[in-house]
Symmetry: C2
Subunit: 147 residues, 2 copies
Amino acid sequence: MPPAPVPAEVAEFLTRPNHAVMAVLRPDGSPHSTAIWYEWRDDGTVLVNMDDVRPRLRWLARDGRVAFTCTDPESFYRHVSLLGRVERTYEDADRSDIDRLSRRYTGRPYPRHAHPRVSVVVRVEAWHGWDRDPREAPEPDRPRLPV
Amino acid sequence: MPPAPVPAEVAEFLTRPNHAVMAVLRPDGSPHSTAIWYEWRDDGTVLVNMDDVRPRLRWLARDGRVAFTCTDPESFYRHVSLLGRVERTYEDADRSDIDRLSRRYTGRPYPRHAHPRVSVVVRVEAWHGWDRDPREAPEPDRPRLPV
């Protein structure tokens, strides 16, 4: 997988409100994945945000290695995956991060305020991409983005 | 996370050609994720299929622990994640598995036949689900599926 920084066209893709799945490590070292909102930042980091009760926060404090797969909502066959590790975790005290994420994905601030929110900043170290729709281009030998 | 078997409604969801991301472990124990086609099977396993040159096949032979997140193509806010481990790996010699997967997702057999294909069967051990669209239901306290 190519190391960071990601090329400009990949960074542009990542700025969109794509569907994303984040994979982390459980305490036994096994992978765990779930869908998540993310924000790509110009400094080559990814921001995610979660309820402070999420087990993933404890798991990430133990082992901060993370993988993301970000998929174009319009095409499952266009996606970028990222490898990285947690650089910083902090309470999103004024909820500005979760509200910004929510506006990006839904057009409005985040409605559920029962639990404190925590932001996690992941430094991206490597990436790979895929851009080949088998429904449109049946037999190319190579995807258009490096894999 | 609830242990397998998954409830009937979750199994029904998994039979659809959902978007899916598979997370595996690289040799250094870090997570790796990518988008993938999958097939849910009535015996509580998930079948995936890949080119025999994929590094993931070597990684899975080393550590067969896997996570999937399967997302409704119509709603990013409806998804099921699965934890499991590889039960069986075999060459898809007649390409029946990849053709069946391809038909399921694209309506036609798989076009690229440059490399041999390998099928991987994952035994599901636990799952969790999410079914709450923040655009439609702004303030429920709980998702409808257990998390």
